[in-house]
C-alpha cells in the first residue's frame, strides 16, 4: 500500500474511533455549541449602535475555541492515552512509517476542526443572524489551515510533557481554559487590565480568534491579510513541532 493510501486508511480509522467515543464527541462538538448558545443568550444578543451584534463577537470566539479543542486538546489527550496504553508502541512494531501515523492524527483533527467551522457558521447564521462575509472567506480559510496545523503541533508537543493518561485532560484544560478567558473567546478583553492583554497577546489563541473575526465582521472591506496574527500562531506551531520532534516517545512511561 502506498503511503498516501495508508494515510487515508489510518485517518479513516482515527475518525471512526473519534465518532464512537461519546466523551470526545461531547467535549469537541457539543460543548462549544453549548458555549455559543449560552454566552450569546446570557449577555443578550444585543445590537450595538454601529449595527453589529454581540454574536459577531462570540461566533469567531467560539470557532477559535472549537479549532483549539479539535486539534490541540484532542491530540494532547488522545496521543498521551495511546502512548500510555501501549498502542503507539504496537504501531511502532509494524512497517507503518511513523510520519504516516502523525500525519493521520493531523488529518483527523483538521477534518473535525473544519466540520466545526461549518457547523458554527450555520448555527451563527440561523440562531443569531451572524452573516458570513464572503469577501473575507479566504482569510477564514488561511486562518483555519494555519491554526489547525499549529495547534496540532502544540497538541503533540503537549503530549510529550504529559506523564500519564490521567494527567492529560487536567494539564490540557489547565492550559486551554485560562487562555480562552484572556483571548476574546468568552469575554471581550478590550477594557481588561493591561497584564491580561499582554498575556493574551503572547499566546496564540487570541491571535487565532483575531484572524477569524474579519469573516464575521459586517464592516469588513475586501480580504484582509492578517499577517501579524498568522505569524504568531505559526511561530507557536513551529515551537510545538520542534518540541514534538525532539521529545516524542512511542513507549509508555
Amino acid at each position: 500500500m502506498s503511503a498516501v493510501s495508508q494515510l487515508k486508511n489510518q485517518s479513516a480509522f482515527d475518525l471512526l474511533r473519534f465518532r464512537r467515543n461519546p466523551a470526545a464527541a461531547f467535549f469537541t462538538v457539543i460543548l462549544p455549541l453549548i458555549f455559543l448558545v449560552l454566552f450569546t443568550s446570557l449577555f443578550g444578543n444585543e445590537t450595538f449602535d454601529n449595527g453589529a451584534k454581540l454574536a459577531t463577537f462570540y461566533v469567531p470566539g467560539i470557532l477559535g475555541l472549537s479549532i483549539v479543542s479539535a486539534t490541540m486538546v484532542n491530540l494532547a489527550i488522545t496521543t498521551t492515552t495511546r502512548r500510555e496504553r501501549g498502542m503507539l508502541k504496537r504501531l511502532r512494531g509494524t512497517p507503518l512509517p511513523p510520519w504516516v501515523f502523525v500525519a493521520s492524527q493531523i488529518v483527523m483533527a483538521t477534518v473535525i476542526a473544519t466540520f466545526m467551522t461549518v457547523l458554527i457558521i450555520i448555527i451563527g447564521r440561523i440562531l443569531f443572524g451572524v452573516a458570513l462575509q464572503w469577501s473575507a472567506v479566504p482569510t477564514l480559510i488561511i486562518s483555519l489551515i494555519i491554526g489547525a496545523a499549529a495547534f496540532c503541533a502544540m497538541g503533540l508537543a503537549l503530549s510529550t510533557i504529559i506523564p500519564s493518561e490521567d494527567a492529560a485532560p487536567a494539564v490540557t484544560n489547565a492550559i486551554a481554559l485560562p487562555l480562552y478567558f484572556v483571548s476574546d473567546v468568552f469575554v471581550v478583553t478590550e477594557d481588561a487590565p493591561r497584564f491580561i492583554e499582554v498575556i493574551g497577546n503572547i499566546f496564540p489563541v487570541k491571535h487565532l480568534v483575531s484572524s477569524l473575526q474579519p469573516a464575521f465582521d459586517p464592516f469588513v472591506e475586501g480580504t484582509p491579510m492578517e499577517w501579524g496574527h498568522w505569524a504568531v500562531v505559526a511561530a507557536w506551531g513551529v515551537f510545538g513541532a520542534v518540541v514534538t520532534m525532539t521529545r516524542f516517545r512511542w513507549t509508555p512511561s
Binding site: 480509522f13 474511533r17 467515543n21 461519546p22 492515552t81 498502542m87 508502541k89 512494531g93 512497517p95 492529560a168
Partner: protein, 333 residues
Amino acid sequence: MNAIEVRGLTKSYGDVHAVRGLDLTVGQGEIFGFLGPNGAGKTTTIEILEGFRERTGGDVRVLGQDPATAPLSWREDIGIVLQESEIEGELTAREAVTMQSAYFSAPRNPDEVLELVGLADARDQRAAKLSGGQKRRLDLAMALVGDPKLVFLDEPTTGFDPSARRESWDMISALRDLGNTVLLTTHYMDEAQNLADRIAVVASGQIVAKGTADELAEQVAAVPRITWSAAPSPSAPTVPDRFGAVVDGDRMVIETHDVVTVLNELTNWATDPATAAPGGTASHVLVDLEIARPTLEDTYLRLTASPDGATAPPADEPTGGSKRRSRGRGGRR
C-alpha cells in the same frame, strides 16, 4: 540462517547491568522459551531484539538484520505481542485487525486470522467489550495478521487463570504448525516446558542454562533426596555421620544418586535392634520417610537463585515486571 543470533549482548542503565553478556541462538521454525524470574533481564533483551531499545554492547541479528539499524521493511516479517498493550476499544475486533493488516505489504486475511485465534464469533464486538481472554486472542491476531516469520510473545499468560492459560498454550502450539518461529518469554517453568522446543534460563542478565526441558533437568545434576521428619520422639537415636544427613527446615535430608544402596543402609540401621529404642520400631526412627526427585520447577528455582540464596536480583527492568493494565472505558477527560 538462524532466526535470532545474539552474541555477548549487554545493556546497562548507569551502574545497573540489566543484561550481562548474553548469547542466544534461535533456529527457524522453533518455539524458544526464554525463561526467568521478573527482573532477570528478559523484557530488556526481548525489547532489544524487537528494536524498541538500544543495546550497550554485543552483536544482535534478528532475521539477518541488526534491529538497531534495520529498515522499516524488516518489520514486515515480525509479529509482536506486547506485555502491556491495549487494542483500540472503539473498534470492533475485525476493524482493529483490518487496520493493523493495512500496515503490511502482504498481510493475511483478517477474517482468517480471527478464525485462527478463535475470535470468529466475536469479530463484530468492540474490542473494549471483549473478555480478558478474548482480548489476548485479539492481541495475538494483531501480531499474526502481517504474516510474520518470527513472533515475539512477551509473557503471554501472565495473570491468566488456569483454563485461559491452557487455551493460550493451544494457540501458541498452533503457531508451530504455521511454520512460525516463536520467541516466548515467561516466568512459568511449566509454560516453557509445555510449549518450547528449547529453553534458555536467564538470571541476573545472563543465561545460566539452556537446552530442551530434559537436558535442563540433567544439567543441574538433579540429585534425588531422601528425607524424613527432623523432629521424631525425644528418645530417637542420632543418625550416624556416615550418612551425611543434614537438617533442612523440619526435615532431615540425604542427597544421593545411589538411592537404593543408601536407603538400604539407612533402613538396616533403623531396624537394627541396637538402634531402635526399647519397644520402638524403625518407623519411629525414620518418621514420614520420603524419596523425592526434584521437579523441573525445583531445578529452575535453583538455577535462578542468586548465590546468597535469595531469588533473583532486584528489578532491573525499567518497564516493570508483569503489571497489566485494566482501565475503565470512556473516561476520556
